[in-house]
Symmetry: C2
Subunit: 370 residues, 2 copies
């Protein structure tokens, strides 16, 4: 095999497929990028068996062939080459020579025989949206997937399509995040659970441009994201997702509007008194005039008042500050509306059209101590 590619194109390709190279594995072939120049295009592939990524790299094929090359070493070499054309040349023993200007590297490759190729996907059933929208919707929900494997379903996100509505849901037992997107076209109903890790990697590769499209294909066991010259294939999580609608309620006893940035800065300040692992709740004392936010810890105490526009009952309620911070960070609205029922029932942050809903469970605390 013999190829010539610019350093920039090589680097782009390597950066994209590297997202599917596992950091730890016992199968050394999975640590490789497959360079496939056996047909008319140069294709890089990596596959950790759950997530597979394939991308077309622009360049010239002087001699057709295939080779598998250690992803880490290859990526570091490419990164440090001068900005110029790079020649990649392999011999019949898969010894690879990489030359750029006066620099020449020699490393050993593999035949690629053992490489796990991506599954063949019949591309019929799909939806289309902008890269920007997909990237945003992942960012706005991914934080509330579970961070451990105790319940496999919680490590993924629900992707639900109904007519022209695309709904993304994640939950971890303490909170639920829901975002709804309006698609340009209507599609048949679909409901799949996508591994959170796959979404995190997809999100890193997406350009995030509003005028660049991404097409999402569905098969029985896989989801495929196709954009630019790249295809990302992820296994789906099997099982029936939680019945979200049963958990949501639109009843409330207290409703208030608050400036999002002020609330976020205040909670941020309060949490500096909470050391990691120390589960101190942040207390909201909501009255007609304002909201008093307070926290008590071994390090000291903090109190702050914020103006709110309130309807309904006064309430004293405690939260894990991290859950509030996570949700507030991904809401773009300047002012937000928060709904509460009582100190033991979930609180909701949602907009009028319910394009976003963040449900957060309160925590118990010793009210007399506050």
């Amino acid at each position: 095999m013999k190829l010539i590619c610019s350093k920039a194109n090589l680097l782009k390709g390597v950066n994209i497929v590297s997202k599917a190279v596992p950091s730890k594995t016992t199968m050394s072939i999975l640590e490789c990028i497959l360079i496939d120049a056996s047909a008319s295009e140069i294709k890089f592939t990596a596959n950790d068996m759950e997530l597979g990524i394939e991308t077309i790299v622009e360049g010239e094929i002087l001699e057709k062939g295939i080779v598998a090359i250690d992803a880490k070493v290859f990526s570091e070499i490419v990164r440090k080459l001068p900005d110029n054309d790079v020649t990649i040349d392999t011999d019949s023993n898969y010894q690879i020579s990489i030359t750029c200007e006066k620099a020449n590297f020699h490393i050993s490759g593999k035949s690629g025989e053992d490489f796990s190729y991506l599954p063949y996907i019949e591309k019929t059933d799909f939806i289309s949206l902008s890269q920007f929208t997909l990237k945003e919707v992942i960012r706005q929900t991914i934080f509330s997937i579970a961070d451990n494997d105790n319940n496999k379903l919680m490590t993924g996100e629900l992707f639900e399509i109904h007519n022209n509505e695309f709904k993304v849901v994640s939950l971890d037992g303490h909170r639920i995040s829901i975002r709804k997107i309006e698609l340009k076209d209507s599609y048949p109903d679909r409901k799949v659970i996508v591994p959170g890790k796959s979404l995190q990697e997809v999100s890193k590769i997406l350009s995030g441009e509003t005028d660049e499209e991404v097409r999402i294909f569905f098969t029985g066991n896989h989801i495929v994201f196709e954009f630019d010259n790249t295809m990302v294939v992820s296994r789906l999580i099997e099982g029936e997702y939680f019945k979200i609608n049963q958990m949501l309620s639109s009843d409330y006893e207290t409703k208030f509007v608050i400036n999002k940035k002020e609330l976020l800065s205040c909670i941020d300040r309060a949490t500096l008194l909470v050391k990691e692992g120390d589960k101190k709740p942040i207390i909201f004392r909501i009255t007609d005039e304002d909201m008093e936010i307070s926290i008590n810890s071994q390090l000291g105490s903090m109190k702050e008042e914020i103006d709110i526009q309130k309807e309904g009952k006064d309430i004293l309620i405690g939260f894990n500050p991290k859950f509030l911070i996570d949700a507030l960070r991904v809401i773009d609205d300047e002012n937000i509306t928060i709904y509460m029922v009582n100190p033991k029932a979930p609180c909701y942050i949602r907009d009028d059209e319910q394009k976003y809903i963040y449900l957060i469970l309160p925590v118990n605390f010793n009210a007399s101590a506050n």
Copy 2:
């Protein structure tokens, strides 16, 4: 005690003195910043017994007093306060209230009785130079102090003053770094060993402006850096520094001029094949035409040629690439001159006026394998 300071001034003061707060200590008073408003100025002090820093913070004293406050908690609170005036108020039990806009923090302070005040320094014997020069000269030598305590002298830098020459030296047994600065005035001879850690912290606080001055005072056991509103006091390392002049030689068999950036990029590329802890030398094969740089490791091999202007003998010599990289990074010249004697003798990188000298010992390698 009651003070009003802007958040910006508080933060500046806290950031400066925090450099002298030890990250680990059994004496909790050392983890504190002393706020001394007992006289007409607000003074922050921190002291880890080896390094002490004192800085004047602009603000208004409404009620005189002294309090010691946990540096980490105080610094985090100040950092997250809104950009406005901050009131710090203590009661007779050293309970501290910090108020800014509607936010109010309560934390416990200490009396400051146990605080180790900085030693009294008679400020007579001093030199003066620009903050820029001091910061640069530290950066250009600090990398070759020893990273362990086996030989205390090697953990410090020699500061030597002779007439109007200020010489800074560091060495770690494999290499020596020497920088010489011309001072505006002449001073009496001085020779002290300053702990490297103190210099690293001083360097972080120095603004690095060419038109800002720093005055360096010497006493029997201490060195004092005075600049802006800040005073840094460091203990000196006791003992007689190595006799550097006996280690230096101006004889050479091979001399060549090379583009610094090209050499640095090439060594940088070569070292990516060397995993941490793997001591593979980089080999220079120097001939009349050019220099061939090569490296061999388990991961593969790399070769590259660089143009040089050479005088004297051909030579084949090996180095620890890290030592070359460290020295090359801090040299500002576009082209540098390297002097060699034989594959077992030290190599020198130095300019004609010997404003800088970097001595690096070569390493043995199996020449037949290259």
